[in-house]
Symmetry: D2
Subunit: 174 residues, 4 copies
Amino acid sequence: MITIVVGTNRRRSKSKQVALFYQKLLSDLNAESQLLDIADLPDDFIRSALYENNGKNESFNTYRQMMQESDKYVFIVPEYNNSYPGALKVFIDGLSYPSELLHKKAALVGISDGVQGGALALSHLNDVFNYLGMNVLAQRVKIPFMKKNFLDGEIKDGLIDKLIREQAELLVKF
Amino acid sequence: MITIVVGTNRRRSKSKQVALFYQKLLSDLNAESQLLDIADLPDDFIRSALYENNGKNESFNTYRQMMQESDKYVFIVPEYNNSYPGALKVFIDGLSYPSELLHKKAALVGISDGVQGGALALSHLNDVFNYLGMNVLAQRVKIPFMKKNFLDGEIKDGLIDKLIREQAELLVKF
Amino acid sequence: MITIVVGTNRRRSKSKQVALFYQKLLSDLNAESQLLDIADLPDDFIRSALYENNGKNESFNTYRQMMQESDKYVFIVPEYNNSYPGALKVFIDGLSYPSELLHKKAALVGISDGVQGGALALSHLNDVFNYLGMNVLAQRVKIPFMKKNFLDGEIKDGLIDKLIREQAELLVKF
Amino acid sequence: MITIVVGTNRRRSKSKQVALFYQKLLSDLNAESQLLDIADLPDDFIRSALYENNGKNESFNTYRQMMQESDKYVFIVPEYNNSYPGALKVFIDGLSYPSELLHKKAALVGISDGVQGGALALSHLNDVFNYLGMNVLAQRVKIPFMKKNFLDGEIKDGLIDKLIREQAELLVKF
């Protein structure tokens, strides 16, 4: 099972649309997947699922369970202030220790309205996942200029479309 | 006014103790400072102070105001999963755009129970602050092995103690 | 004195053209500057100026002297394999210890034929300079798509042109 | 074939000693390996093997051939100025394009006399290798305080010794 993580708690995010697009790619490759949208986490999970409350928030644990049951992940990561969203990191900070992610595998997709496509965000996140023992696919995909490059649920730039399809194939084989 | 940001929402954190220690250093240099503890933010600020709610959460705005009134900052940054805490980034993601931090100045202190002292965390955070237009003092201070190196509100390692005092002086002059 | 470092040893590089453009910007601000082109270093400086030979290569020492006499720098950094050029880092590795750069100030310009404009390269270099105690201006300028954005010795993209002029002014005041 | 790259051109480096130690680990796992010491490259390879000379330096090409024939690598990376050595990056900059490293696999070992063990160096290098399409094992090993932790060709710290043996096993299976 591959879990596609929508990496922001913004409601109705573009990241979710990209996640749905990615799910179609995986379906075409006969790979089973499920969506985990950070926006669905409890509004106070930054307090109610961390530290002394780690593991005690039943609603949060549902999502943790989804992570545990998967062996591969796709992270859709919007660029917030030249890094990953704080909300995505809080979710990771609320997982178990030792991590559910140990010896698992992930693919990273960065998105932005600006020019970078989350270049720094993916680098930072790679450091986090390596620390947790999760192997990250070399091929990071970046989608800059989202308003132009992602319309009607599809990637409009030919090269990026090719790269993300390659990435999905590589993840299935990883 | 220098604001010392306690970079986690963990209650009664070691980061807060280090912040109190830093406040004494600044006081000895006749520099006025105040503490801003991320743990004091509303439990649901990840939802109630971001996106469509940005700027509308009165409690959160109190802390934003503290940031606006300052021209220099110290960030005490515990290492969480080889980066900065998600909670600290959510706080930054909830600030204004254009940023309160533009053309301001900051000093970074990383802490950890392990060997690294937040080396990666401070690098990631530096990328964020540079993007927001805030100059970051070159001298990053790292306090690894907190249980040994920070006791009774004081730094026990002579070299680290020297470096953090130098940093405080450099910040005042920065 | 501001030294503008051409951050590659490629001969007749685009980086050098950007450096010459930057020198005009500084001249317009009445700031004195000089160019240091890594391409002018001895062909074997990777061996003859490092380790047991550190400080003993007279030709290399000429450039080291230029660095010592300056208090501010501009680094023009082409993106090579998603980081800074190895040649630029060898030059830095061949400087003195403690570093000539301690308590100096720098501005970073990244350039690339592709989309990124050296985003990662500048982040990596920032880590190096912070370690050496040199304050780096927050405003990093990136020039992606050089073939389109830099023609006839001038920046053709209006926003990037505005940003690099702002950066030059900030550096003079830094 | 696994190539173990000694990531500096310093002669008789500690990195080489660590590489020899790693070769024993791989031999114990019945994995064939060879050493590639950056110190053996021609003294002027920064000029004679790059740009217009790329692929034309017969001596350099011998080492490029070693890289091409391998499908896995170990990089021993001493920390120089808070990043990887310039010499290692020049070697990478002198490889072919598209890269010999595409779809290959690597393990990273950082070493330092100081506290960090190359934490930032390995992060930077990971960005380079991901760009070149080479998958990097999540488990990065860091050996800080080399003078204490690495004596007589062996790792003296029990935890680090365990981690590097785990890494070697993971690389063989990667």
